[in-house]
Symmetry: D2
Subunit: 424 residues, 4 copies
C-alpha cells in the first residue's frame, strides 16, 4: 500500500507539470495511457472511448492545433496523437475479472485550467520544482490528484484481480471544467450495466485531512451556452437606417436576462460573463457574441432559467431584426447520491488509519458533470455516490496559489480500495 501511495504522489507531481485545458489533454492522455498499459486493463481512446458528436464546448481549431503540436514536441507519438485529435482526449480502462460480481464504474477528471501558476516562495509546486511547464495553464483544481488516484486504483485492481470479482470501468474524463466532457462518455454506453458509480473530489471544503464525506449534496445544475447574434453592418453616419444593430440587441438581451425572476423553489443564477460586439467605431455592429451560464439548485430550476433565457435571446435578437444562435457549451444536471451507500462506505473504512472521520454528507454548492453519470446509473437501477476528501485549504480552487495537501492522496486511495474490496 505504501508503494501505491508513493506512486500516487509521484504521478500527481508529474501530471501537475503538464496541465492541459479541456479537450486538449494530449500529453495527459498519453501519460495515463503509458501508466495503464502497465496494468491488465483494456484501454480505449479516441472514438473508442467517447462519442465525438456529444462533446460540448470544444476549443477553437487554433487552440487544438497548438496543443497538438506541443504534445508532438513533448514526444507523444504521432500515431497515438492522431487517434485522439482533434479534441478526442481522455481514456477509458476496462477490466473483467471473469468472476460473477457487480460492474463498478469509477470516474476521474483530468483537465487543467487557463490560469497562470503562481511563482512565489510559499507555493510548494514552485519551490519544489514541479510547477506547470505550460505557461498560462495550471492544475488549479486538483484534477492532477484525481488522475493519480485513478491510476493507483487501476494498478491496485490489476494487482489484486484474484481477490476481486465483477467488472471495473475507469473513466479518465476530459473537460470537466465548464461541465463539458461527461456527456460524450455516457453517450458511448460505458454505464449501460453499471451497478456502482464512484467519483470524488479533493478539497472543496476545508477540514482536517483524513475527513471523508461519503456523499455530496447540493450539486447545482448548470447550462453553459454561447449566444451569437447576426445583424447587418452599415456606415453609422451615412446610412444608419440600413444597419441591424447586434450591439443594441446584445445589450437588451443582457439586461433582460438579468430580469428573469427568482424562483420560490430555490437558488437560481444567471451570468452573462462576456459580451463582444462590433468591428469599428463608425460601423453599425453586425455581429455579437455573449458567453452565458444558468444554474439552479435542481435541474428543474436550471431549466426554468435556461428556457426563459432562450425566449429572451430569440426575441431580443428579433427586436432588432437580427438572427440568433445558441450553442450549448456545457451542461450538468443536479443529482443526489444514493444514501444507502453511506453505511457501506463507513463500514468498509472503519479500520482505515488514514481516515479520521467519515461524514454522511457535505454540500458542494457548485456544478460538476459527474452528475451526468450519477443520474444515468441511478435511472437504470444502479447506485452512485460522489465522495469528498477535504483537507485544510490555504487557497481556494481556481486560485493561482491553489495547492493540495499531498497526504489527501493516501486518504483517497485507501478509502476507494477499502470500498472496492467490500462491494459485492
Amino acid at each position: 500500500m505504501e508503494d501505491l501511495i508513493k506512486f500516487s504522489k509521484e504521478n500527481r507531481k508529474e501530471f501537475h507539470q503538464v496541465p492541459e485545458i479541456g479537450f486538449t489533454e494530449y500529453i495527459t492522455t498519453y501519460l495515463i495511457y503509458e501508466k495503464i498499459s502497465q496494468t491488465k486493463f483494456d484501454i480505449f481512446i479516441g472514438d473508442d472511448a467517447l462519442s465525438t458528436e456529444d462533446r460540448l464546448g470544444i476549443p477553437s481549431h487554433d487552440i487544438l492545433e497548438k496543443s497538438y503540436k506541443r504534445a508532438l514536441n513533448y514526444g507523444v507519438p504521432k500515431d497515438f496523437l492522431n487517434k485522439i485529435h482533434p479534441g478526442k482526449t481522455g481514456l477509458v480502462a476496462k477490466l473483467d475479472t471473469k468472476k460473477s460480481g457487480p460492474h463498478t464504474v469509477l470516474r476521474f477528471d483530468i483537465d487543467g485550467l487557463p490560469i497562470e501558476e503562481n511563482e512565489s516562495q510559499t507555493h510548494i509546486p514552485f519551490t519544489e520544482k514541479f510547477i506547470s511547464k505550460h505557461k498560462g495553464e495550471m492544475h488549479a483544481c486538483g484534477h492532477d490528484a484525481h488522475i493519480a488516484i485513478g491510476i493507483s486504483i487501476a494498478t491496485y485492481i490489476s494487482q489484486h484481480i484474484n481477490e476481486l470479482c465483477g467488472k471495473y470501468t475507469i473513466i479518465f474524463q476530459s473537460a470537466e471544467e465548464g461541465v463539458r466532457g461527461a456527456k460524450c462518455y455516457t453517450k458511448k454506453g460505458w454505464l449501460s450495466d453499471a451497478d456502482y458509480f464512484f467519483s470524488s473530489h479533493v478539497g472543496i471544503v476545508s477540514e482536517k485531512v483524513g475527513t471523508v464525506a461519503a456523499t455530496t449534496s447540493n450539486f447545482l445544475a448548470s447550462s453553459k451556452f454561447d449566444v451569437e447574434l447576426y445583424g447587418k453592418s452599415s456606415h453609422a453616419a451615412a446610412n444608419p437606417q440600413d444597419g441591424l444593430n447586434t450591439l443594441l440587441a446584445a445589450s437588451t438581451i443582457a439586461l433582460s436576462l438579468n430580469g428573469i425572476p427568482q424562483h420560490r423553489d430555490g437558488l437560481t443564477r444567471l451570468n452573462v460573463g462576456t459580451l463582444h460586439a462590433g468591428q469599428g467605431r463608425n460601423i453599425i455592429p453586425d455581429y455579437a457574441k455573449l458567453e452565458c451560464e444558468t444554474r439552479g439548485a435542481t435541474s428543474e430550476l436550471n431549466n426554468f432559467m435556461f428556457n426563459r433565457a432562450k425566449e429572451i435571446i430569440e426575441h431580443g435578437a428579433k427586436m432588432y431584426g437580427c438572427d440568433s444562435k445558441i450553442t450549448i457549451q456545457g451542461h450538468a444536471p443536479s443529482a443526489s447520491c444514493s444514501k444507502e451507500m453511506i453505511q457501506m462506505i463507513k463500514e468498509s473504512n472503519k479500520d482505515n488509519k488514514n481516515v479520521i472521520n467519515i461524514i454522511d454528507e457535505i454540500a458542494m454548492d457548485a456544478s460538476e458533470d459527474a452528475t451526468v453519470y450519477m443520474n444515468e446509473v441511478q435511472d437504470k437501477g444502479g447506485k452512485a455516490t460522489y465522495l469528498l476528501f477535504p483537507y485544510e485549504l490555504k487557497y481556494g480552487h481556481h486560485h493561482p496559489q491553489f495547492d493540495i495537501d499531498e497526504s489527501v492522496l493516501s486518504v483517497a486511495v485507501t478509502t476507494f480500495i477499502n470500498i472496492l474490496n467490500n462491494l459485492k
Copy 2:
C-alpha cells in the same frame, strides 16, 4: 361681403364657447347644422356623412356619454343627437349648381383640445366674455375660426349659385387633432370625382395679417398608436417565477424604440408619450399600456419608423412571455400641394384688399390629416392645396392663451371666395 365677414366673426365667437374634443362635437355639429340649414346645401350627418369603422382613436364610452349628456342639456334635440352618437360627429354639405363645371371639395376641421382656457386680463376671449364654457376644453388651435370660414363659404355659394358652376362639397371634419378623423370621410367616397380640394389653417407661422401662403410644404407623416401588453400577475415575493412581467417588457420596448436608427433620407421622430403598468407594489405587473407616435418627413420615413417599432413591440413582449396588441389611433401621410394652383390663387386674389402678400409656399413642419384627402384627390387626377392664413401669433397653437387675430377671418373668406369664382 361685409355682412359675411361680420357673420364669420360672430360665428367664430359662438363656436369658441363650446369646444368639444374629437368625436364628441355634438353641440358643434348641431350648430353647424343649424347654420347650413339656412343655405341651399344638402346636409349629411352620422352614418350618411362618414364611414363609422374608419374612425381612429375614438374616445372611451364614458367620455362619449358625458359629452352626449352635455349636448342634451345644451338643448340639442335628442333625435338629432342619436343620429350622430356615439362619436359620429361632423357634417358634410353638398350642393350641385346643375351647371357643368368642376367638383370642388373644401374641408374645415371642427374639434377642440383638452386644454383649460386661460382667464387672464390679457386674454381677449376672457375679457370679451366668449371664453370656453366647457371647463378643460378649448379651441386652442383655431378650428373655431375654420368652422366660421366654412359656414361663410357655404353661405356665399348658396347666395351666388347663379354665378357659379359645377358641384361643391364642404366637409366639416371631426377629430383632426391626433390626425384621427380624415380617413372616415375619404372612405365614405366624398372625393371620388373631386377636381379641386382646398383646406387651410389660420396662424401656424407669425406673419403680418393679410399674408397668404398659396401652398404648404413639409407635412410630417405620422402614426399614432397605443401598445397594450398582456402578461401574468403573481405575488412578487412568494411566487415571482409565475409572473410574466409587462412592466419590464414595456421598459425594454421603450428603450429599444428609442434606439431605432436615424435615416439618411430625412427627419424621423418617435415618442413614447405615456407608459402605465402595474396594479400594486407587491404584484408582478400583468398589464401595461404605452401611447406612442412616429413621424417622418415623408410617408416612407414614417413607415420605416412604424415598421421597426412593430417588430420591437412584438418581440419585446415575447421576450417576457407577454402578448402585445397595437391599436392605430391616428394616421396622416405626407403630401404635396399641387404647385400648378399657385398661379391661379395669386391671380384670383390680385385685387383682394384684405390680402397684402401671397407667398408660394410656407413649411408646416407638423402633421395634419388634410393630407389624407390631398393624396386621395391627386391620386385620381385632381388638384389639391392647403393654404395658410398667418397673423402675428402672441402665443403658439395649443397654448392656454392662444388667440386669433380676428381680421384673419376676412382674409380667409375673401381669398376662398375669389378662388371659387375663378375655378372652371
Copy 3:
C-alpha cells in the same frame, strides 16, 4: 371564559363590517374606544398614541377626507374624529396593576385591505350577513379577529386585575398592511420598559384549528418605497432636444433594478410594481412614478437590495438629466422570536382544551411590521414572540373569499390569557 369567547365572536363580526384601509381606521378606532372604555384601561388616541411624523405611507388627502366623512356619517362624534384626523388612527390602552411585576405589551393590528369582498353563497360573511359595508374594502387578512382578540384580552385583564401584577399596554395598531404603522408607535416610546412583547396572527399556514406556534421564524425584512422622477417636457416632434425624458429614465431604472445580483446569504426580492409616466402621446414625459419594494431573508439582505436600488435610482435619473426622489412608504426589519419563551408558552397552556398542539416554530415567509417592536424590546433586554393560530385555510389571505374559522378566536384568547397568568 365562555362569555369572553362569545364577546370575541360578536366583536369580530362587527368589525368585519367596517373595514378601513391603513390610517383611515376612523370608525374602527372609535368602536375599539367604545369597547375599551368599558374596562379599567387608560386610553390614548391621536397624538397621544403615536408619533405623527413617523407614520409611513399615509394615503392621499382625498382618501383621508372621504374616510373621515364616512365616519361622520356612521355616527362617530366629530370631536373624537378630529383628534385622530388626518390619519392618526389606532389606539393604545394602558393599565397599571400597581403591583410589582413585568410590563407586558400586546399588539393587535386593525386595518383592512382595498379588496372587494366576495358575495357568493359559499362565503359565510355574505350568507350570514356580516359582509363588509365598505364597498372595495375588506378585512381579508383577519385583522378583524385580531381586534376582537385584543378587546377580549383587555376585558379579561381589567376583570382580573386583582389576580394579575405588573403593567399592561395594548396597542391597537393602524396600517400594518404595507408595513407602515409600527414605527410611529415604537417611536412614541410605549415599549421603553417592556419586559414582554406579544403579537400574533390567525391563519398563515393551514393546520387543524387548535394548533399553536409558540414562535414564528422567517420574517422577511422589507422596504416599500416610491420613486418620483422629475424631468422636462417638450414637444416630441418640434423640440425633442429640450426634453428630459422621465419615461426613459424610469424604464432604465426598472430594468437595472432587476439586475441587482442575488446574494449568497439568502433570499432577496425586488419588485417594481407600478410605473406611471407621461402626460400625452406627443410630449416628452416630464414626470414618472414607480412603486417598489425590496425584501430580504434578513435586514442585512434587505439593506443590500435597498442600497443598491438607491444608487441605481439616483444615477438612472441623472443619466437622463432628471432628478429623483425616494419616499419610504413602509418598512419592516427581520426579527427572531425569543426562543426562551417557548417553554413557558407550552407549560402555561398544557391544560388548555382549546389547544391541540403547540409547535415550537412555524415559518412566516412574509413581511410583518411586528418585527419593529420585537427588535425594540429585545434590544432593551426584553423578550418578544409572535404566535401563530392556524386553522384550515380555504382561501389564502388577501383573497376576496378569505374567511377565518371562528373557533380560532377561542384558541387565541385562551392561549393569551393562560400566558398572561403565567408571566412574572
Copy 4:
C-alpha cells in the same frame, strides 16, 4: 508642367504601395522627407513638427513598434526614425520667399486605412503592380494622391521662388482618419499668421474629371471617444453580491446613448461601434470598453450629443457602482469655407485646360479634421477653403477596390498652381 504631372503620378504610385495607418506613417514620412529635401523648403519633423501631447487616438505600443520595425526593414535610417517615433509622424515644410506677401498654408493628409486591398483583375493597382505591400493596410481614401499633389506643389514653389512672394507652409499631416491628427499641428502654431489656408480631397462625389468645387460645405462635426468601465469581479454563482457588473453597465449605457433625443436644428448621429466586456463565463465582468462616436451638422449639435453622452456614461457606470473613463480619440468641428475665395479660384483657373467646370460648392456630408485648421485661420482673420477634385467613382472611399482616376492629379496640381500664382 508636364514633368510635374508625371512626377505626381509616379509619386502617387510609390506611396500607394506603402500605406501606413495614422501615426505609424514612418516609411511615408521618410519618403516625403526625401522628396522635399530636393527643394528649397525647410523641413520639420517629430517634436519640431507637432505638439506631442495634442495627438489623439495614438495606436497601441505593439502596433507602433511593429510599424517601426517594418520601417527599419524597409531601409529608413534609424536616426531619422527615432526622431519621429513613437507616433510622431508627418512633416512640415516651410519656405520664405523673403518678399512681401501673404502666408499661405497648404495641408495634405498622408495616412492609409486598415483595409486589405483587393487583388482582382479589374483593380488597376493590382494589375499594374503597384498594390499595397502592407497586407491589411491600404490607401483606400486617396491620401496617396494627396501626398503626391503636395510634393508637386512644393517642388513648383521651390522652382518658381523668384516669381512668387510671401511665405509658404506645407503640412503633410498624419492620422486624418478618425480625425485625430489636425490638433497637434495647429497647436504647434504653424497657422498663427496664416493669410490663406487650402486643403482638398480627390473624389468624394462622382463627377466628370476636371470638375472642381471651389468650396465644400456640410462638414459634420464629430467626436470619437472610448469609454472604459471599471467594476469588480466575483464568482457569478458563489458570490454574485460582491460583483460590480461592467457588462450590465455597458449595456445600459449603450441603450441609453441611443435614446438621446434628436435635435430640431439638424442632423445628429451617435454610434457605439464596439463593446467588449468580461473575462469568463462564470465571472461577474469587471471591465468593459466601448468605442463611440457622435456627429452633428454643426459643432453645437455635436456638442449637444457629446455632452448628453458624457452624462449618460458617468451615471450609467455609477448605477452599477462602477467607475468610468472617457478618452477622446478624435475630434473635428464643423467649419465653413470662406465664400470670398470662390471668385479668385474661378478667375485664376479660367484658362486651365485640365479644368472643365468650377462649381461654387459641393456638400461633404462627412467629417474631416481640415476643419480644425479652417476655424483656426478664420478666427485670426485669414481665409480658408477646402477644394474638391471629383472624378467618376467606381467604388466608394474605404472600399477594397477604391481607386482614383489618375488624371485627377493634373487637375489638382494645375488648379493649386494657378491659385498660388494669383494670391497676393
